[in-house]
């Protein structure tokens, strides 16, 4: 049994962490929160210089050709630093969709540029309030063109292209479609969200030229497979964030005095922090197992990914809110960094669909494993 990352993977993790410490301390997400930039360009450039976006892209398509364990360790560090970049949209979603469903030509067209960070991609599913079903998709793909609107689309205002889940006019069901977001027939409007450090947009298509990605009518299933893969990577980011909250809260509890004692000496606070640790470690174990399943494309991936996602969402929700609580009044201020994590935790928990959706997927995967 060897359930651990290799020395090289650990070195990559440390390298990423050191880099992010340098270029992305918490003043950077704060700057994006308070300013007009959609993301921190210098952080994105630094990640691109490290060739991080191409970590899991095979060498034949211009990537580094490492595996998903390497991508996972980077994701954990991105989550810890709250890096405000389009990394998750471009790497976990758009790149994965093309790797999974693209023709060789499509891969040649997109992957080298994605690997080098020359273009940014995203993935568009949501059409507004509620959880979609394939039958209720309104956005439509027909005769090489898209019509309809998607919102919120992560990085929809900055991405160069999107993978869109759309009803297919020429098939039974949904297909994925690749669309150039800078072309005619695309209108994008930035939307306000709980976490302005990650830009989102409403993207409307009025006959925008698009090409199918993957087989006609297979879009919904492909979306599920992309989401299984992305779920592990999102869970790693969530884990990094909840670890950061635990570190912040523990540190504060040691230094803050009330009643002549550090507040960390009160069992109400001790148990709170211990609970945070317990949730984080359960999440970490599920996430690392998910990382293994992703890196080996194991049969268990659907179950492992959902478990990672559910555990990490729960851990980050708890850690982010109880970090504020541990800080008392100061934690409720704009000036404190607590709310940066509180905002990000909710955003990440919804970006790929809410916990209730993932719990459902988890039990569905479990049912399949325990077929009656």
């Amino acid at each position: 049994m060897n359930f651990d990352f290799s020395d090289a993977q650990k070195a990559l993790k440390k390298q990423t962490r050191d880099l992010l410490r340098q270029v992305c301390d918490l003043t950077v997400p704060r700057r994006v929160l308070e300013g007009e930039e959609p993301y921190a360009d210098e952080v994105w450039k630094a990640l691109v210089d490290m060739e991080s976006p191409g970590i899991a892209i095979p060498e034949q398509y211009g990537g580094l050709g490492f595996g998903y364990l390497e991508l996972c360790v980077v994701a954990e560090e991105l989550g810890r630093s709250l890096a405000p970049t389009p990394f998750s949209s471009s790497v976990y979603l758009a790149t994965e969709a093309i790797l999974l469903a693209g023709t060789d030509e499509q891969k040649q067209q997109y992957l080298p540029k994605l690997a080098k960070g020359e273009i940014v991609g995203t993935f568009a599913l949501s059409e507004g309030s509620g959880a979609l079903s394939e039958e209720k998709l309104a956005c439509a793909f027909a005769d090489g063109a898209l019509r309809g609107a998607k919102t919120p689309v992560p990085d929809g205002d900055v991405a160069d292209f999107a993978v869109v889940v759309a009803r297919d006019g020429d098939a039974d069901g949904a297909s994925l479609a690749l669309v150039d977001l800078t072309a005619d027939g695309v209108e994008r409007t930035t939307v306000a969200t709980l976490d302005p450090t990650r830009s989102h947009a409403r993207v409307a298509f009025d006959g925008a030229a698009a090409q199918r990605l993957g087989a006609a009518g297979e879009g919904w299933k492909l979306k599920d497979r992309v989401f299984d893969r992305a779920a592990v990577l999102f869970a790693m980011e969530q884990l990094g964030g909840s670890d950061a909250c635990l570190a912040m809260a523990t540190d504060y509890a040691k230094g803050r005095y009330a009643f002549g004692r550090p507040i960390g000496s009160f069992q109400a606070i001790k148990h709170k922090l211990a609970d945070m640790y317990i949730k984080n470690e359960l999440a970490r174990a599920n996430d690392y197992y998910g990382a293994w399943a992703l890196s080996t494309d194991a049969d268990e991936l659907a179950l492992a990914a959902a478990a990672a996602r559910v555990a990490s969402t729960e851990a980050y929700h708890y850690a982010a809110k109880e970090n504020i609580q541990t800080h008392g009044g100061i934690g409720f201020t704009w000036e404190s960094d607590c709310h940066l994590f509180y905002r990000r935790s909710k955003l990440l928990s919804l970006n790929l669909g809410s916990a209730r959706v993932w719990k459902d997927r988890l039990v569905t995967a479990l049912e399949a494993q325990h077929a009656a």
Partner: protein, 409 residues
């Protein structure tokens, strides 16, 4: 048991209903009005007008004695009035600290002349009051405060800093706890005052909350002179006077702001999950049921408190659980409401999301409610020690001279 009013209460309620119907606008079902942003000048102006109107009609603080602007009515009249007013879209929130905490403290400790001068303008909404208790180093541990008051003839000279002072930026007066002697044990060296917020040397700086709004402030005191006549209680009795204020704070804590189970129900009716209304989803129904039970429990506890009040008795200890139940519930209901909207649950523009972004704004203000007026942890300590009679923490700070207590700095 009988949930009906007595004939006398029913007659009063009918009278209140008629007056409210003629003078205010009922809340409509579809758009439940949010707590008005209390930092808006217009909101304050509207609230003052409403309070004035209410006072003119004799409905403001009815249980206060007549000479201090009330009606000398039984407290159940105030409760009935508030129940009825809650159905109307009227600006509230600016006066709750003054009327709920400052006025009772003044009535207990101020001179007759001061009571007649200060309480009626509070009741009429003409003068707004704030509570200058918490400090950077003293929140849960209020008696750890450091703001110094030094006697100089008939006056006191105050230096120090308060923090989280809600409404200080629009308040006319404040109640203030200070330390007059740092060599005494912490609870013994405190002295309590009220002061004019426009006194020279008082500086109010707004603090931004996580939502971006600024409802509370830092307040700095630089050689602020307060006449000894504005001292409430004896020199060194500041702690006992503070307890009077805090006891009233606990009574003043009413229902939490929305969203609640009812808002979640309305949302679940309007939103689809995987092609069918969320309200048909058994898991969603289960969550709504759980939060309904908590909310209903608190409502019925309030009914029991009302019964006690109507009989002139003190409400039982169960009323102390209200905030520790409702504040975390608000946070979880808000978070779950956003989950029902799924990926669009992150949208904060009321135009672009169902329920006017009620759940998203709830998500951002709930953390404050879990801290303000006693944190979740402190409230549990109080229940454990004062209600259940469990032994208190072993204290390292109680009997030492204040200036020898470890403070970590």
């Amino acid at each position: 048991m009988d949930f009906n009013d007595t004939p006398e209460q029913a007659a009063f309620r009918a009278e209140v209903r008629t007056w409210l119907a003629a003078n205010a606008e009922a809340k409509t079902g579809s758009k439940r009005s949010l707590n008005r942003r209390i930092d808006s000048d217009r909101g304050l102006e509207m609230a003052k007008q409403w309070q004035q109107k209410k006072a003119d009609a004799g409905y403001a603080c009815m249980h206060f004695p007549k000479e201090y602007g009330g009606q000398g009515a039984p407290i159940i009249h105030t409760v009935i009035y508030e129940q009825e007013e809650a159905k109307y879209d009227v600006p509230t929130g600016f006066f709750s600290i003054g009327l709920g905490m400052c006025a009772p403290t003044m009535m207990a400790y101020a001179s007759e002349e001061q009571k007649q001068r200060h309480v009626p303008p509070m009741v009429r909404g003409e003068e707004v009051w704030c509570q200058l208790f918490s400090e950077p180093g003293a929140g849960s541990d209020l008696a750890g405060l450091r703001t110094r008051a030094e006697r100089d003839g008939d006056e006191w000279v105050v230096n120090g800093q308060k923090v989280w002072t809600s409404g200080a930026h629009y308040s006319d007066y404040g109640i203030l706890v200070t330390r007059h002697d740092p060599t005494l044990p912490k609870h013994k060296g405190l002295t309590y005052f009220f002061l004019d917020m426009r006194s020279p040397g008082v500086e109010v700086r707004p603090i931004k909350q996580i939502s971006g709004a600024s409802d509370f402030n830092e307040v700095y005191f630089t050689n602020v002179r307060i006449p000894d006549s504005q001292r409430l209680g004896e020199v060194g009795a500041g702690w006992q006077v503070s307890l009077t204020t805090l006891m009233n704070e606990r009574l003043a804590v009413g229902g939490a702001p929305p969203p609640d189970a009812a808002d979640l129900l309305a949302l679940a009716r309007g939103v689809e999950l995987e092609g069918r209304p969320a309200l048909e989803d058994p898991a969603t129904r289960a969550r709504i049921a759980e939060w309904y039970v908590e909310a209903a429990g608190l409502t019925h506890i309030r009914s029991r408190s009302m019964t006690a009040l109507a009989r002139g008795e003190t409400p039982g200890p169960e009323s102390s659980i209200a905030k520790v139940v409702s504040a975390p519930k608000l946070q979880e209901v808000s978070s779950y409401g956003a989950d029902l909207l799924d990926m669009a649950g992150i949208l904060t523009d009321p135009q672009q999301t169902l329920s006017d972004a009620l759940f998203q704004s709830g998500y951002l203000y709930a953390p404050g409610l879990r801290i303000a007026g006693g944190t979740d942890e402190i409230l549990r300590n109080i229940i454990a020690e004062r209600v259940l009679g469990l032994p208190g923490d072993i204290r390292v700070d109680r009997d030492k001279p204040f200036n020898e207590i470890p403070s970590g700095s």
